[in-house]
Symmetry: C2
């Protein structure tokens, strides 16, 4: 019954179908979870989880202890971020936590909103998520590279970066007081080699990009300072009085299964490790995409450096969740793809040139294969199936 | 496993225990749901509900069609609000929708934030939920009765009203342009007679107060105008990219079971109707509370008028989710209750006198009974167990 919604219906794609690859809907990993059968099945009875409250002894009083435990365990298994002695605050996706972190780092006593910046190209949703309420506390101030202001600021460091998959560090050189928010949504083995244990003041993660469960709307922040964790919690309290308990328990279950798989992986008993599966899937897709792009003679893609992944135990390359497709100069990449009936986000939305476009690499197989077909069909000089663009 | 969290642990209360009745945590209805056994049990497998998307043909694209259907059906069964030809927008509790509605009704082109008012005593969280981000779009302007401004405004009509349980209508008489948001969280048969089918531009409801499932964080708005529904949806998209799908499906299941029970009720086959159960429970609690208050000689409570409830089919009185306790003049009611180790919200938080305090009527039986004991123990002149206050 739960699968009756249209998005789960198996719609047959034809070569003429419109492909929506504008969002990063992470349905690519569905087959893994389907193959696990009942291992991840969750049962909730009618009287479970009725209270607003989860753990009154914790700063984040609406966080289910099982999920806190699972998140700590996951970071230890993957080795991507320090979780020991860090406060965990849960959010309705990392989107809500991004706003909560801005709130926590800004001051109600300040006469002007604090500037929020990120190095271009940056995630297209940072500016509207910062400015839609015209807050007097914080204000989007654009590209961190060109930020030139002596005042206080918040820099968002998104690494690996959405849209272009690059590894990032903070870039603002400022005489004022700066705060950092590290958005590490894509710092998982399937997208990039895990080269170090990240240790920053505020680190944001989301289940959507880690396991593919975007519908659950679960994000978490690892926070060094108790006072900042308290203010992030306050925001979530004002904003939505907590976070779905059903989603929290399901996330705990799913992460628990992943951690069990990681331990089997270490002892070489099994090939069911989620991240190994997902890393292979992404590497395979990127290989195919690069072939299609080469045969297109129209698009190009940056290369990513080889690096040692502490989790996989091998040298690997980044296989980002988005392809940052580049066209020749003066070609509007989004428009060109629209002619192919592929919906994407154009470069300008990321404060980049229109010769770029961001294409999701996380669609279902059928959609991804159709993307490959469509890209391969376009030949040099901008012709589609022989027709001049 | 899902019941391991502390809030579900059966803690034994002693006469000396601290009672937290400051929030309206609706755990009173747990036994009903427990008694239903497997009827409301939901099973979710690991690959379910992974996408961000639910229904791309709907304005609220993240709303599961099953839940939309269940909500429409519920309002038809209860007869408390018109749902036919109304847009439904889902939120992470009605708290998120309250903010989304403010966003939808305010204008980004306006030079000044629009004034937001509600008739005192009003819900203590309206002011902080309006002002915590210091939005340039809207601003809390206090008591609607004393609002004196020619400009545009938004009036929140909370009926039955939190904290005092009264039935409300809009009160601002203004020459400017006014918008109304009807917060109907408590317009259900267990709290008040259902006297009419409400039909307003924006009506907010929440699962928390309807069925008691606060942990699910599910609220919904019934919206007349498509453009307003679109803007409310935009807010939720910016704020959290949708709402937990697990919670949505669970809410659909729970509401479905309630609707089935209502139909049995109509045909007199059964006594399992949720609202009948909950109405009896609340009426019983209010009777006991009034007895305890009378024997205390310190507190008093307003009487509510008798009215015909179209749902129950009888004359009933309001049995609000909160008691609005009144002390004699110059007595700080919250402080007095704190001496009894009962945590409540004092009148000042609702823009009312400190002789009032709001006490939750929705705690578990054990807590409610302890409240009665504590209230009965306090005698005239403000003595607790013979000790002068």
């Amino acid at each position: 019954a739960s699968l009756a919604s249209p998005n789960n219906a198996k719609t047959r794609l034809s070569p003429d179908s419109v492909l929506n690859l504008a969002q990063g809907d992470p349905t690519a990993f569905e087959p893994y979870w389907r193959n696990l059968g009942d291992k991840c099945t969750m049962v909730i009875s009618g009287s479970d989880l009725m209270s607003y409250l989860s753990d009154m002894g914790n700063i984040c009083w609406f966080l289910e202890p099982e999920l806190a435990e699972a998140i700590r365990h996951l970071h230890i298994e993957v080795g991507n971020a320090i979780s020991k002695d860090r406060h965990i605050v849960i959010g309705t996706g990392s989107t809500q936590l991004y706003q909560a972190a801005l709130y926590a780092l800004s001051s109600p006593d300040s006469s002007e909103p604090i500037s929020v910046v990120s190095a271009a190209p940056y995630y297209s949703q940072y500016p509207p998520q910062t400015d839609y309420l015209r807050s007097g506390l914080y204000k989007w101030a654009g590209d961190a590279f060109t930020f030139d202001n002596d005042g206080p600021f918040i820099e968002i460091v998104n690494s690996p970066n959405n849209p272009d998959g690059t590894i990032r560090e903070a870039v603002v050189v400022n005489k004022g007081k700066g705060w950092l928010i590290h958005d590490l949504a894509y710092y998982w083995p399937q997208y990039t080699p895990i080269t170090h244990v990240a240790d920053h003041d505020i680190m944001l993660f989301t289940l959507s990009k880690c396991t593919g469960h975007a519908g659950s709307r679960i994000g978490w922040a690892l926070v060094k300072d108790a006072e900042v964790a308290r203010k992030i919690t306050n925001f979530i309290e004002f904003n939505s009085i907590g976070v779905s308990k059903e989603s929290q328990l399901r996330a705990a279950k799913i992460i628990g299964v992943i951690c069990d798989g990681c331990q089997d992986f270490e002892s070489s008993k099994s090939d069911t490790n989620f991240f190994e599966y997902a890393q292979r899937l992404m590497a395979e897709r990127w290989k195919k995409l690069r072939e299609a792009v080469r045969s297109s003679e129209v698009f190009s893609l940056a290369e990513y450096p080889l690096d040692f992944c502490n989790f996989i135990g091998e040298f690997t390359k980044s296989n980002p969740a988005f392809a940052w497709l580049q066209c020749k100069e003066d070609v509007d990449c989004e428009k060109l793809l629209r002619e192919l009936k592929v919906m994407v986000r154009g470069g300008k939305q990321f404060e980049a040139d229109e010769m770029y476009a961001r294409v999701s690499m996380l669609s279902r197989d059928e959609s991804f294969n159709l993307l490959l077909e469509k890209l391969s069909g376009i030949k040099g000089g901008g012709t589609i199936n022989g027709k001049r663009m």
